[in-house]
């Protein structure tokens, strides 16, 4: 038990991967049910293992907790260094929870190579938790890149008709950004002689170098979040991915980018972050406003949700780069909330797609008449997606908008338009799909959700409403960490010899 207590993070990372390997070894299409149950047990155990990270988290500590440190590659001073703070704990829990959801969502839907499908998601879950908890540059990079491999396979094997194009685009886009990040790590390594993140936090860096470092990290993270104008891989990947792939992409993979801004780009190059803050805010607002318009005209439900994700992630980067505690916490809350809501939305599309094999809005209409229970859930999640007060979607957006009001009125004004546009594209889609007359014979034959689908949607609905009414469990985690973060961000890292004051402070 002490081994477990001292290595909580290692268990959180390696247990799902072990479960994935077990599923691969003992699962097959012939023994489909056994495969599913093994995967389900594996994912549930992996989820339970992450719960102590929350219950034992010390709320008043702003630095890294549950740290584990072991030598890995001494030749380059690379360590197996793990640790979490208030930013990463909720994201880790979100990851392990989403994995359970994905396994359940695939239950009867995936019939081809079930073991490989389940194993890919379990292994991916471990790798993503690794990204959220690595405190060593190379360890982080290995998790970050390795995660591409299972996602590449998931989209490519179980995806839609245009899956090959989408998955190759996804892989190469992400790889391009990541490799520049690797160059930044090599630079930092030759400056400090180590890959330890904490060394990078303390390293004074000249403005010129900071700008380059920030750009290199930006290339990696902006692609992942994704920010306008490097977002184009996301709609393709989302549309072609199977339901589980879309859920993981939207709920977690995008957050890897957001989290990494907080963990790497901003604290390592704080002066450059301030220098670029206006650019970042502008790009965020473009994402919020322009992408919302793009979402409005989509004919494919999944594509619409994909654009909605980009728009919502614009809020996240907006919250980061205003450098206020409210904005920062709002952004993290928005990441968590978007994890639930986008999962739920993609699940809803999945439920419809499994029955009709179409994602086109035009093929639907009046679904509420044949699937009343499902429609109730779907409308709830649509409301949450458009930021209705009382749902978790409102909390993050509201916090960011409040922070923006203090920052600059026009920024706040543009950000607040999302409450209108978001409602417009989500509710218009809801109206066309669910309300009105029964559109065609296929819709008339639809059967309402079964117990499995009901339980998934019900759990998500409880979470969405629960955190909407009482977001304290998340925000409590963030306070000490975000205060610590902002203190760090306000300390210039320029070398002392320089007389140039830090920009924007």
């Amino acid at each position: 038990m002490t081994v477990f207590n001292q290595h909580l993070l290692s268990f959180a990372i390696w247990l799902p991967m072990l479960a994935g390997v077990i599923v691969l070894m003992f699962g097959s299409d012939q023994a489909a049910n056994r495969t599913r149950w093994v995967a389900l047990v594996g994912s549930i155990v992996s989820f339970l293992v992450t719960i102590p990270l929350y219950t034992r988290f010390q709320l008043d500590v702003g630095t890294f907790q549950f740290q584990e440190l072991a030598t890995w590659i001494p030749a380059f001073n690379i360590h197996y260094h793990l640790g979490v703070d208030g930013f990463s704990v909720p994201l880790i829990l979100l990851t392990s929870f989403t994995t359970v959801l994905v396994v359940v969502a695939a239950w009867e839907v995936i019939t081809k190579s079930i073991a490989q499908y389940m194993a890919a998601f379990l292994i991916m879950s471990g790798l993503m938790i690794g990204v959220f908890s690595a405190l060593d540059g190379i360890l982080y990079y290995v998790f970050w890149e390795a995660m591409l491999i299972p996602m590449f396979l998931v989209i490519g094997i179980w995806g839609g008709p245009n899956r090959v194009y989408a998955t190759v685009k996804f892989f190469l886009y992400t790889l391009l950004g990541s490799l520049l990040m690797l160059v930044a790590f090599i630079y930092l390594y030759h400056q400090t002689g180590s890959f330890a993140l904490t060394d990078y936090y303390d390293l004074p860096i000249a403005m010129n170098a900071q700008i380059w470092i920030f750009i290199a990290f930006f290339m990696a993270f902006a692609v992942k979040i994704p920010m306008w104008p490097v977002h184009t891989w996301l709609p393709d990947a989302h549309v072609e991915a199977p339901t589980g792939g879309s859920i993981v992409l939207a709920a977690i993979a995008l957050k890897l980018g957001g989290y990494s801004f907080l963990r790497f780009a901003m604290p390592i190059a704080p002066d450059a972050a301030h220098y670029f803050s206006n650019v970042m805010i502008t790009l965020s607002l473009i994402a919020v406003v322009y992408i919302a318009f793009v979402a409005l005209v989509q004919k494919d439900m999944k594509k619409l949700i994909a654009y909605s994700s980009i728009s919502h992630m614009g809020f996240v980067t907006l919250g980061f780069f205003m450098f206020s505690q409210l904005g920062l916490e709002g952004a993290v809350v928005q990441m968590i909330s978007h994890g639930f809501i986008s999962s739920a939305m993609f699940l809803c599309v999945g439920v419809l797609y499994d029955r009709m094999h179409s994602r086109q809005i035009a093929d639907y209409g009046g679904v509420v008449n044949t699937m009343p229970m499902f429609a109730a859930f779907a409308v709830l999640f649509a409301m949450a997606n458009s930021g209705l007060p009382g749902t978790s979607g409102f909390v993050g957006e509201f916090m960011v908008i409040l922070a923006a009001v203090k920052f600059n009125f026009w920024v706040a004004f543009l950000a607040a338009t999302t409450l209108i546009f978001g409602a417009a594209y989500t509710l218009w889609m809801t109206k066309r799909v669910f309300y009105g007359e029964v559109a065609n014979a296929h819709v008339a034959e639809l059967k309402d959700i079964n117990a499995r689908e009901f339980s998934m949607l019900a759990v998500l609905a409880i979470l969405v409403i629960g955190f909407g009414v009482y977001p304290e469990p998340i925000t409590a985690l963030l306070q000490a960490t975000s205060a610590e973060f902002l203190t760090h961000m306000q300390t210039s890292k320029l070398p002392i010899i320089s007389n140039v004051p830090a920009v924007g402070i």
């Binding site: 380059f76 190379i138 990079y141 491999i149 892989f171 391009l176 490799l179 090599i186 030759h190």
Partner: protein, 477 residues
């Protein structure tokens, strides 16, 4: 006793000749004895090399032959690589009526050439080893003598190879003319006393670098690589693409890092140009290929470009990292060609890209192994290919090659594309070929270990890094 320190070489020589003789008296159905003898030779040579190892650097045969840690480690890696290759190729040669004693004798003779190159401390020794290796390879390429493609490839290889040997020899003679010695250490000392801008010396350097680049297959001396790779029997392609690179690496270290080190500023520039061109042309040309062997040939060219990144750093860090790179490269090449051999069968060469279609449905394990190999070649963590690229790039960065590193990194993305295409064919497409995979158990086992090693060394690269670092540091001090 000088002669004893060359015991591994002598063992290989005697056994190769013994195999030729035994082959005359043996019935064709008992040829497996020859195979056993060849494997035993490698094992015995490994034991001798391992036993005679000392950390000290010692020179024998009037300073023509060196025994240092670098030589011992590279020789051991060569034995291992050759042994793996023999396991993979046995069935392939049997099915194509090429399972003959000469094959094993030639492989052992070529390996003897590599060993002499690895231990060469004198330009004459190096050249002798190189010629022994090359002549064996030329004839091995034409081993399937009724195949016109193979004959053409052999001819091409021979003509261009002879030209490269000539260039190398010409450069050596110029260096000899200016320094008055053929001994690596004496050359280094003599050059330090000379004007480093001596034109004859620089000309000599240019020819030597050109000769080395040919042996590696670096752009602009890469013309032979795709044709020879495609034309040769796959087993020979595997040999050409894998272990001789250790020997080429060794003579590059001997010639450039030891003998011509005072001219580092000059050869660094040459290597930089070749490195960038190799990565660019290798990766871009590989995209257009439909033949797997040809694609791997272009992939080799781009790998050599990355290897040169380590070498051009011209410091211990760089040499150690390129040694790590070449070890990883040989391991992944063996795996890649091993996969082609695994899928080949009587009258069928699995050397086209579409032959891999739907492999995941035919054999998930084989597809998984090939996928590891492809991601290793692309340099995606957590495979050893990532650390290989990482080590050479950080060495080049440390040596001040900032922009070349960024360019190389961007070109690696292009490289990832054609490796991903293989994964796509195996996993996303439906199979067109439904034949079961027939391969001997030992081959399947060794191939699995080989591919898993790519992953395991990727998770724990420290041991191999230490071995490479130690070899370079103790031998180049």
């Amino acid at each position: 006793m000088d002669i004893l320190s060359a015991l591994p070489e002598l063992t290989v020589l005697c056994m190769a000749m013994l195999i030729l003789i035994v082959d005359l008296f043996i019935k064709p159905q008992n040829r497996f004895v020859i195979y056993g003898l060849a494997q035993f030779t490698l094992f015995a040579a490994a034991v001798f090399t391992f036993q005679s190892h000392t950390p000290a650097v010692s020179y024998m045969f009037s300073n023509m032959f060196v025994d240092d840690t670098l030589a011992d480690v590279l020789k051991l890696m060569t034995y291992l690589g050759t042994s793996i290759m023999l396991v993979y190729t046995r069935q392939y040669m049997q099915l194509r009526n090429m399972f003959r004693g000469e094959y094993y004798a030639m492989v052992l003779f070529s390996m003897l050439g590599m060993m002499i190159m690895i231990s060469g401390q004198n330009m004459l020794t190096i050249y002798m080893g190189l010629e022994l290796l090359s002549l064996c390879l030329y004839s091995l390429v034409a081993f399937d003598r009724d195949n016109p493609r193979a004959s053409e490839a052999a001819m091409k290889y021979f003509v261009l190879g002879a030209l490269a040997s000539g260039m190398l020899l010409y450069g050596m003679s110029m260096i000899y003319g200016m320094t008055g010695s053929l001994n690596i250490t004496e050359i280094a000392n003599a050059i330090s006393d000379l004007n480093p801008h001596n034109p004859v010396l620089i000309m000599g350097l240019v020819f030597v670098v050109a000769g080395l680049a040919f042996k590696f297959g670096a752009v602009p001396f890469q013309m032979w690589v795709p044709d020879v790779y495609q034309g040769s029997p796959t087993s020979i392609t595997m040999l050409i693409g894998s272990v001789p690179k250790f020997a080429a690496f060794a003579i590059t270290i001997r010639l450039l890092a030891q003998g011509l080190y005072p001219l580092a500023a000059d050869w660094q520039d040459m290597l930089l140009i070749m490195a960038l061109l190799s990565i660019t042309i290798g990766n871009l040309s590989a995209i257009a290929q439909t033949n797997l062997k040809r694609m791997l040939a272009y992939s080799t060219i781009s790998h050599i470009g990355f290897l040169l990144f380590g070498l051009m750093s011209a410091n211990l860090n760089g040499f150690a990292s390129s040694m790590f790179y070449i070890s990883a490269y040989v391991l992944m090449t063996l795996a890649g060609f091993g996969m082609i051999l695994l899928l080949s069968r009587q009258g069928f060469e699995a050397d086209k890209l579409e032959d891999l279609k739907g492999l995941n449905q035919r054999s998930p394990w084989a597809a998984f192994m090939m996928m590891i190999t492809m991601f290793t070649m692309a340099g995606i963590p957590p495979t050893v290919g990532f650390y290989a690229k990482f080590t050479v790039l950080q060495a080049a960065w440390q040596a001040g090659f900032t922009w070349p590193v960024v360019v190389a990194v961007l070109l690696a993305v292009i490289g990832a594309f054609y490796y991903l295409r293989i994964v796509k064919l195996m996993y996303f497409d439906e199979p067109t070929d439904h034949n079961a995979i027939q391969a001997p158990v030992d081959m399947q086992f060794v191939l699995s270990v080989n591919c898993l090693a790519l992953l395991l060394i990727g998770l724990l690269p420290q041991v191999l890094m230490n071995i490479c670092g130690l070899s370079i540091v103790t031998s180049l001090q």
